[in-house]
Subunit: 417 residues, 2 copies
């Protein structure tokens, strides 16, 4: 396991420091051929087919994911097909008591919705009847701690990420006082849950931003294979498994801190420049990542989950895996720096003169942002071939409280301790 294959990668735009960080990293090694226009021949190279899919485990949308427990659902839950990320800002005057009331309302709503039941004030109860593995994952921005008068309990990493050279952040996608990650295998279910939860919070919060994302429909991808992003790449190989490495995700605090059982969540909106990506031929694309497009196998291996051989040399004596291929740069030698990725594709309407406006809502969970996420991101910021075609345009960090056990409300360990 490694943090290999992160898609939270830094772009180089055509000028300025990002371009320089790309060049500094050794772009020359990519070679001119790979940058040549290669779209016309790309399909010829794609003979491999995706693995046949297994029938979906939840053919009728009635499957549920337990809400109650030591951890919130939606973190190590196998990703559902649809997600809405809703960032909210606290209204003026919301204090600790008000937060406790809001948490009580949301806890009850999520408890019901996740079981396929309507919320207590649900005005469209029929829309609640297809849970489709619904999970709602709540996170706190820094302002929650200020509002609650609990600054001393704010994790040190709960603040905006450090600035990266490749960032071109737009405030409309940044930060937030609260986040709701709402995921399900049915988009009507997601929409209904978001509507209810936002409505219930109307006197406490306003919507700051909403990001929607999607993956393949359930059943279309063989279990154990990895989703593809809209650049066509297998995205998320070698992810953290909380069954093997729970400490990489779940916060443990020997002193019994309120975040024990919780985690942190980073949401980065990564725009993909599919038009310049299209100018790259298939070999160039594979070199940029270090994996084959057909099956996600490393250029030194034959299957997606093969360990890449970073020392391998080609007949010309050059590295088989480019010195600044994403697979190499995203890899950390420090096993404690790995983190869980749970990304979704987005595809907005293109602006004037654009052909598309697609990308990735890159979402990660880790016990400690500063110890895990930031060092890997710094390395990618310094050099990563993928930076040429990808640009972070939004960034937000949240503390994810532990799960609510029976009789508890979300955030109780923070707000009542």
């Amino acid at each position: 396991m490694s943090a290999d294959d992160e898609r939270d990668v830094r772009p180089a735009t055509s000028s300025g420091s990002s371009r320089r960080s790309f060049l500094r990293g050794g772009a020359a090694a990519l070679g001119g051929a790979a940058l040549a226009l290669g779209g016309r021949s790309a399909w010829d190279a794609a003979q491999a087919t995706e693995a046949p899919a297994a029938p979906p485990a939840d053919a009728d949308g009635r499957a549920t994911v337990p809400f109650r427990g030591p951890h919130q659902a939606g973190v190590d839950t196998p990703p559902q097909s649809f997600a809405a990320f809703v960032a909210l800002d606290l209204a003026d005057g919301v204090d600790r008591d008000a937060l406790i009331r809001l948490m009580g309302i949301w806890t009850d709503d999520v408890d019901r919705l996740a079981a396929g039941k309507a919320g207590l004030t649900d005005t469209e109860p029929e829309l609640a009847q297809v849970p489709a593995r619904l999970t709602v994952t709540l996170g706190y921005g820094p302002a929650v701690f200020t509002a609650a008068g609990l600054e001393d309990r704010r994790p040190s990493w709960l603040r905006p990420l450090p600035a990266f050279d490749v960032d071109r952040l737009e405030d409309r996608w940044n930060d937030g006082d609260l986040i709701l990650q709402v995921c399900a295998d049915d988009e009507v279910t997601v929409s209904h849950a978001v509507r209810l939860l936002v409505k219930e919070a109307r006197t406490f919060t306003t919507v700051r931003w909403v990001q929607r994302g999607f993956r393949r429909a359930p059943g279309t991808t063989k279990p154990g294979t990895t989703m593809r992003n809209l650049m066509g790449q297998v995205d998320g190989t070698r992810n953290v498994d909380t069954g093997v490495d729970p400490g990489l995700v779940w916060h443990t605090d020997a002193a019994g801190g309120w975040l024990a059982g919780g985690t942190s969540m980073v949401v980065r909106r990564i725009a993909m420049n599919l038009d310049t990506w299209d100018e790259l031929d298939r070999a160039g694309r594979e070199q940029a990542v270090g994996r084959r497009l057909a099956d996600g196998s490393p250029l030194t291996g034959t299957a997606e989950h093969d360990e890449p051989d970073l020392e391998a040399k080609g007949p010309n004596g050059l590295d088989v895996i480019n010195p600044i291929a994403h697979i190499r740069r995203a890899r950390t030698e420090n096993a404690a720096e790995r983190f869980l990725r749970r990304a979704y594709n987005y595809d907005d309407a293109p602006g004037p003169g654009e052909l598309s406006a697609s990308g990735l809502v890159f979402v990660t969970f880790q016990a400690d942002v500063d110890r895990q996420f930031v060092p890997v991101q710094r390395k990618l910021d310094e050099a990563d071939l993928l930076n040429i075609w990808t640009t972070p345009i939004g960034s937000a960090v949240f503390a994810v409280p532990p799960g609510a056990r029976d009789g508890e409300y979300l955030g109780q360990a923070l707000l009542e301790a």
Copy 2:
């Protein structure tokens, strides 16, 4: 069969002529109680559950819908879960020859994509491997006929709809020179197809608007039951069946006109005011439509597909189905005025101060817009209780050419005849 239950309904805003048309129609009959705030009790009333679902027919996303044939697919195809409606404008200088070239490119792309194969210039061929019942349906706006020098072949109904009192149209959702309706049961498939088709047309067109829509995931709704919109209503009961009434949808021309086998497409973007809808109790909601929320049955019947009894009186001597209930107003006594509806939900990010921005991409197909769509819309514009909560904010009309048979390209009967 009737045009009953259209959701393309006219709103009354709080002032002006739309409000007047609502009042003129007899709003007093609704009664004050129905307008009282009733959200808190709504869930109590919802005991009925949706029918158990059947397993999806296409569990692994490999099902295909034939592209070649006398009609285009995506019209009477059972609606897939996702849709993108992409309106494009022709670039300056596009003439008949250029249109023929574009049609050739698109025909080949759609032929391949619908079969689960990559397009000839497809740079992400792996994303083509899950067709998931992909259909692409092409339509022409008026400008195609001008550009091609074929004004004499433009159907008389191919122009913007007449103005309705309830309309609050925004130009960003109106009109278009071409439309691509791209539908599949997998949102990645839709996204990939849109990207390829828009890219292939880049020298001929620019994107004017994109509307995305969704329905329940495959398998979650029992075959024969009807989708729900985000107001919670069963939406689309008593639709036209082209197996029974082909002439209501497919254009037939005894003279052998180019549109034989084609149809017309109306795309109306209908915003729903869910906040004021929430102020209505369950009885009021059912009265507005004339159907029960739990199962879509008419207020005079017991099952969704029961025929409503429009003459039935209650114990108080009043009509059981309100004089301006949607079900009554949308019903036409002229069987030739019925049309096929194929709507999708939308759920945008709310604007500042809003809780949600949801609605319906209301899509209809009919042989003749002026003979079928317009008369029903006029009646709804005059009076329909649903007008209080719904507002058309976009409108576009297209001529949908017949299907491409083997060896033909889309639009060939128009462009080469």
